[in-house]
Point group: D2
Chain length 135, copies 4
């Protein structure tokens, strides 16, 4: 199955004095893509939280920086589910530029949390059903 893709443009805010995208900001791009992947399946995070009392937190990230992105670059961020567990989801996320060059490779583990206590909660059933179709 083709992974979900989300376009991201590089603005001045994303770059640093080295002339390239600052390394922490790629994690914002990864999160925008995960948010839009959930939205594309019908889930708005502020509603998940209001209605089910849960939110997704990030438990672990492994990220490799392959090639720097620069101002005005048009990037594409992928979301590819690799594992669905009771309270967590693992994803591979690749960022490429519009020359098809690999910019970033990441593996992200997100966990469903009670929004008040930040203790693990089962992923809501409707989300489980939707995510299963992505694997």
């Amino acid at each position: 199955m083709t992974p979900f893709q989300w376009p991201v443009r590089v603005y001045y805010e994303d770059t640093d004095a080295g002339g390239v995208v600052y390394y922490a900001h790629y994690l914002k791009f990864l999160e925008r893509a995960r948010t839009e992947w959930l939205r594309a399946m019908g889930f708005e995070q502020h509603l998940i939280r209001q209605q089910q009392g849960v939110l997704f937190g990030v438990r672990a990230v492994t990220i490799e920086y392959k090639k720097p992105a620069r101002l005005d670059d048009q990037l594409s961020v992928g979301v590819d589910v690799t594992e669905l567990r009771k309270a967590s989801i693992s994803l591979d996320q690749v960022i490429t530029n519009n020359m098809g060059e690999l910019i970033v490779m990441a593996h992200v583990n997100i966990v469903c949390l009670h929004s008040d206590s930040f203790t693990p909660s089962p992923v809501p059933e409707t989300i489980v059903e939707a995510v299963k179709k992505c694997i």
Copy 2:
């Protein structure tokens, strides 16, 4: 009265591909100094919110960029109260570098808000008393 001063170091995260501090990030520096000014008077914002149900929001900013700051610069951010009203505080905030050069001049109006409704609330009396001594 000498305005409160808070030191800020410029890191890569603060700069952009122009080689200087990104214009939005000076507002973070201004807010750090306001937070430390409140803390120096004995007020922690998360406690103000928990105990009194209010938080400070920014209603308006006027900011002039005089000279760019760069990576590794050591800046100083001032907090100088110019007006205290029932639900709001106005401040002049100047940022200088360690050569004494003027980087940024700002005028900031903050307003006390109920943290749930975001409607204006009187500034808590203990804060009013402390701020009066700064004018």
Copy 3:
């Protein structure tokens, strides 16, 4: 003439512990819209810099926060030129949400700078011609 409009979605990265968009981040939204306004007229900022040795810096911002934006909000950011001078451009920029509510009103003065010395430079003639049509 209808001002240029650019859509911006609010992500977690844009919000703070108050539950709303952090006040400095609206300046990022304003800059994205200015960048896309220039791009829509055919000007890429990294090319302007490479080819003409100039970049646009922000000299002054006046911003009023009218209503907080929140996670998942879909905003629209306007760009409306109010004045074109030899080395600077003044713009009104309004941010609204998709209920048509006013979130932010800003007035921004940008100045054309030599990218090495950061001293003022005339706005390149091709940009002057394009901007004149926006007034």
Copy 4:
């Protein structure tokens, strides 16, 4: 040898609508500590770049989020070199709060790059000598 430690305070800018520090921002904290570790050994990054034509880029990060940090938390960020190679340095970086609780564990690989071409360069000899003493 006790790892280098750098204090970081959590401000509103660092938090998100979940009420905790946004996951990407810990990478800023990690980088501030690395910058101050270099500075403590006598190396300013803007001078390294000007004088030697190199800069440090991040090639890979593995990060685990153990416990969320919150507004006003006082954190401590460690820098512990684990490996020094010809063109790269590997570090363990742990973030704790002032209760001694573990917030984040990270492993970071940085690489020395020619600042114009972003191709690998040997780590400058003076830095090699200083870093060796940290292992």
